[in-house]
Amino acid sequence: MMKPDMTVNLAGIPLRNPVMTASGTFGYGEEFAEYVDMESIGAFVTKGLSLKPRAGNPTPRIVETPGGMLNAIGLQNVGIDAFIAKKVPYFRSVNTPAIANFFGNTIDEYAEMARRLDEIAEVAALEVNISCPNVKHGGIVFGTDPASASSVVTACRAATKKPLIVKLSPNVTDVVVMARACEDAGADALSLINTLTGMAIDLEKRRPVLANITGGFSGPAIKPIALRMVWQVAKAVKLPIIGIGGIMNATDALEFMLAGATAVQVGTASFINPGAAQKIAEDMEAWLIVHGVADIKSLIGALES
């Protein structure tokens, strides 16, 4: 059979395939150039950016648990100025959309970040992080209250003409309420889920393992929760959805598409295999060929019940 059509359109950004890399697991792209053909994936997303550089949390910052890992990095990043000077030039050398993930401590900072990123021609879209569980500000406080989320998205919307993706937290009672608030405030797409707040304890020391005490739980163990939330949100909003959460292989990625995702992000899997996103995209195409599916878009939300 002919090569299947792997392209999808994400809020106006054409992607060669639906596989993106998740923020915080792929550096600023260049770190992975040795391991990934950057033009084999749909898009890549940067580490979360802020106006000022951030040094992050004390160590230990990560710990493995069965089927997953906890991290409390604390949004360590180079800051917008160093990003523009040192990281953006690389984007010109790859013909793949670069998406900038960002956050702020206040609504004004979110808007300022959106303005700064809007000016960068090499940035294809913005992903606003209202869901980092590891810092007091610049994340979860905006991501767990629909009115706050709405204010952040409204402010960012006014500051950029680029596609605006909002990354949602699973640490809420009803993710659909958050999704609707972001849709109404002008988001172009939603990405979900960010990590789940978790904890690990060292019994012998009688202490938390992480210096931050709690951390964000990711990896294959969270996939069922992520799938459920993507499915719920896909039924409730018209926006395209990027499915994230424990995607380790093509099967996982295709399941997210059936649940309603237009694209997916590969996160923790890139830590284990830096070439994971490329492998997943290739294996998805192989699955389509084997199953006689001509166009991957036909799978979006095609879950039968």
Binding site: T25, G27, E31, F32, R61, G219, P220, I272, P274
Partner: protein, 272 residues
């Protein structure tokens, strides 16, 4: 680079410490002393993450078949501490491993006319053998190996075979002198004539003591750090260590996997 490696041997060299030899691509032959590899223990999701191991040695071996040509190998020396290393210790010759590396910044070999003082604590000797092999080509080298008991003093005969003078110290006195390895290091420094530099790897407390000694005496010192990391390529930012100007108000973190694992001791923050 990422490669699949065939285990050639996996032997317990001391209670709880194992030495594994595995095939490697030719590029590994030029691994710098102090670099490390990230090993995936198996293809399942528990353990999920790779484990970092210092490169103990690289070399070539000739397979047993007639007409076989020499093949590159790499060795790691590791301690069984948890689930991942326990599983690793159960693997046998002909098992396969998925490996990423060599990674990170290794040791600077320094000037030939310095006396090289290598300090290793327990499994901290792992990245120091390849270093010693390189240093001994041009310089006078002394090894100071420490541990809690004799079981923690690893592969000393390998170092002795290089023609290196080895000093051992154990906290319980079961091998070498009774006490800390830093005491033996200090005595040597007292007798020192001419220039020297220190290379150290081991528990953080030992590195801290060595770094302070080096600072007091104005001797260049490189340390190799261990870090709990997910990726090994600078993306997860899990393995950072505090830099010299670090404070809670003005954080200064260095990435162990890409800026290290070897650092000039003066680059890092130590307790007095």
């Amino acid at each position: 680079m990422q490669f699949t490696s065939l285990i050639l041997s996996n032997v317990e060299v001391s209670p709880g410490y194992w030495r594994m030899r595995m095939t490697a691509p030719p590029e590994c032959a030029s691994a710098q002393p102090g670099q490390f590899v990230m090993v995936r223990v198996n293809g399942a999701i528990d353990p999920l993450l790779r484990r970092p191991f210092g490169i103990f040695d690289v070399g070539t071996y000739t397979p047993a078949q007639s007409g076989a040509v020499a093949q590159p190998y790499l060795e790691m020396l590791y301690r069984v501490v948890g689930k991942g290393t326990t599983m690793l210790s159960t693997l046998h010759g002909s098992d396969l491993l998925d490996i990423l590396g060599p990674l990170g910044k290794g040791f600077d070999l320094g000037a030939a006319d310095e006396e090289k003082l290598i300090v290793g604590g327990g499994v901290g000797l792992a990245p120091l053998y390849l270093l010693a092999r390189e240093l001994v080509k041009e310089s006078k080298v002394r090894l100071f190996a420490g541990g809690r008991t004799r079981d923690d003093i690893l592969c000393i005969t390998e170092f002795e075979r290089l023609g290196i003078e080895c000093y051992t110290a154990t906290e319980d006195g079961s091998l070498g002198e009774c006490g800390l390895v830093t005491e033996a290091l200090l005595r040597r420094l007292d007798q020192l004539q001419g220039r020297a530099s220190i290379y150290a790897c081991g528990p953080h407390g030992m590195l801290n003591a060595v770094a302070n000694i080096a600072a007091e005496r104005g001797i260049p010192c490189q340390v190799s750090l261990e870090g709990y990391m997910a990726c090994g390529v600078g993306a997860c930012l899990g393995c950072v260590a505090p830099g010299h100007s670090h404070s809670p108000e003005t954080p200064d973190f260095r990435c162990v996997c890409t800026e290290g694992p070897v650092f000039e001791s003066g680059e890092l923050k130590w307790r007095d």
